[in-house]
């Protein structure tokens, strides 16, 4: 559980020192005050990535040279540790309890974060890159070897593509990247296939819980190579000549997709906005369920961030949503005004106003104007 958050030059926060001691935390404020930025900082601590951008330069306060995020978190043993990230032009420095750590996995394995965001619908309706990103982020926190393999594959792919730019490139040089790609791709594809099946199962169960009928929901993993290392090897060798004509690798993990199918209809083409929004929400709920099942009762590391997404939900769905995210060790919500829901009776409330956050002792002090 997070106990303290310190920010310097992060988005619109010049300096922030925020003590947190509740399981459930509400951040109330008008648009553009920095509510989402705070969730982004928490997310960044646990994933070393933003949920909004891949460009680090966007995260620092405009006019500053870099940003700092410090987080004090308590594990199940009651021991508090400081996790710090310093980001500037020279790169990033991660330290745990003041000791510099070279490996991002040291930080990432201490948190299991799921963020519910207004843009989540894009995972269902948007381009395949958003779906791969969603899957990659989740599998990276649950399986460190997945991230390593994906990284190997993408580096080798980038180099193979650089070689392919020359239409007379040496076939042997193109082939040199293929053993690395085949080995990594077989592992990543296996994980993605397994996850698609697990996701379908979890989403199906959740939907059946809402509507008491068989959901008719499935996830189809689309990859153009089936089989293990050998199959990838053969495919890469078979496509080599064609790839050289094309000037790039024309198939592979970088083009994988996940089809979300409801009652035999592909959601991104035939689903209503309501259906797509619901599925995008349930998909992340499924991730919470998977993390909770893996944690085997030790929910301390699981953090759920909810950025203004509960407003449109009907009552039954909202109650189910609260039940699922209740499996997390700690929750952070943002709202533009204090919700009347009984669920938040014991929540700690904070007012966010232009890059400053102040605790509010009782709900009637919240300034909604």
């Amino acid at each position: 559980m997070i106990r303290q958050i310190e920010l310097r030059n992060f988005r619109n926060y010049e300096t922030l020192s925020l003590a947190v001691d509740a399981e459930c935390n509400l951040f109330i404020g008008n648009n553009g005050q920095g509510k989402t930025n705070l969730l982004e900082a928490i997310f960044f601590t646990s994933m070393l990535r933003s949920f909004r951008t891949a460009r680090m330069a966007e995260l620092k306060k405009i006019g500053s040279r870099g940003f700092y995020i410090g987080t004090k978190a308590v594990a199940g043993t009651g021991l508090a540790r400081w996790y710090e990230i310093d980001y500037n032009n020279n790169g990033r420095r991660i330290s745990i309890d003041g000791k510099v750590s070279p490996r991002s996995s040291d930080l990432v394995r201490n948190f299991r974060t799921v963020a519910f965001l207004p843009d989540d619908i894009g995972i269902v309706t948007g381009n395949s890159g958003l779906r791969r990103r969603f899957v990659d982020m989740f599998l990276s926190i649950t399986d460190p070897h997945y991230l390593v393999s994906l990284h190997h594959y993408l580096s080798a792919l980038q180099m193979r593509n650089a070689v392919l730019k020359d239409s007379r490139a040496d076939m042997g040089l193109i082939a040199a990247y293929e053993p690395i790609m085949a080995k990594a791709a077989a592992y990543v594809a296996d994980c993605r296939r397994e996850y698609a099946a697990r996701l379908a199962l979890e989403i199906g169960t959740l939907l059946e819980g809402f509507y008491n009928v068989s959901s008719g929901f499935s996830v189809r993993y689309r990859s153009d190579t089936e089989g293990g290392i050998e199959a990838w090897h053969n495919k890469l060798a078979a496509e080599r000549r064609k790839d050289r004509l094309r000037g790039f690798t024309g198939f592979g993990l970088q083009l994988d997709d996940f089809d979300f199918i409801l009652n035999d209809k592909l959601l991104r083409h035939y689903g209503s906005t309501g259906q797509c929004r619901l599925i995008s929400l349930v998909m992340k709920m499924a991730n919470v369920n998977i993390l909770a099942a893996e944690a085997q009762g030790n929910k301390d590391k699981i953090i759920v961030l909810v950025d203004d997404v509960t407003g449109e939900l009907d009552d039954a769905t909202r109650q189910a949503f609260y039940r699922v995210i209740g499996q997390a060790g700690q929750l952070f919500f943002t709202f533009t005004s204090l919700p009347g829901d009984d669920y938040f009776r014991h929540a700690a409330v904070f007012q966010v106003n232009n890059g400053e956050i102040t605790p509010v002792s009782s709900s009637n002090q919240v300034n909604n104007g």
Binding site: R103, H145, A156, M159, G172, L173, A176, Y177, P179, I180
Partner: protein, 202 residues
């Protein structure tokens, strides 16, 4: 010259030192001022060594290792070395590391880097041309690829193996896994994964 500048000769020396790896302006200044403190005879020896460096230190025409005065390197010259094995390394400095292990008695071949197409480093930029010739000329039965285990090193190894396929050579690469004499608790997941996939029967 105004008061905020060093004399021109010193300034030039600082600029030269600054071009060395890992040396910034401040360090270059410190080094230059330290040189200024040296007695003239020491500086003269230093200067002579600098001047003669490109003549006295050359690359072995056989393997690419560091050598002296345009001749073969001591390893290629030594009659005691096993000429049936060639160990391929990226840099000449790595030969010294391997020699310190005392386990290897064959010859070497220095590539001068590894394939890095994103930085424009292609096979033509590596010392690869003489390798097939060396293999054809001698009694070489095994090629050991002692290259980095990162993506570039692995691709370079695969490229060389492909290039020399059909020569009837035994081509091996070094094992990767746990560092010798280390506690398994401190191994990172990637190293452990390599160690697991390379485990051997007792």
């Amino acid at each position: 010259m105004n008061g905020a500048e060093y004399p021109e000769a010193l300034e030039e020396l600082i600029e030269l030192l600054k071009s060395l790896p890992g040396i910034g302006r401040r360090s270059a200044e410190r080094l230059a001022l330290a040189l200024l403190q040296w007695p003239p005879e020491k500086l003269a020896v230093f200067g002579d060594l600098m001047r003669e460096l490109p003549v006295r230190i050359t690359f072995c025409p056989e393997c690419g290792n560091l050598a002296a005065d345009g001749g073969l390197c001591p390893i290629c010259r030594a009659p005691s070395r096993d000429r049936s094995v060639i160990c391929v390394v990226e840099q000449a400095t790595q030969i010294i590391n391997i020699e310190k292990s005392g386990l290897y008695h064959g010859l070497y071949h220095v590539l001068g880097g590894k394939l890095a197409p994103l930085e424009g480093k292609n096979p033509a930029d590596l010392n690869l041309e003489t390798l097939p010739r060396r293999i054809d000329a001698g009694p070489v039965g095994e090629l050991v690829l002692a290259l980095s285990s990162d993506v570039e090193g692995r691709a370079t190894a695969a490229y060389i193996a492909g290039m020399l396929a059909g020569k009837g050579l035994r081509i091996t690469r070094l094992a990767s896994g746990l560092p010798a004499g280390s506690d398994i608790s401190y191994a990172d997941p990637e190293t452990l994964a390599a160690a697991f996939s390379g485990r051997i029967v007792l």
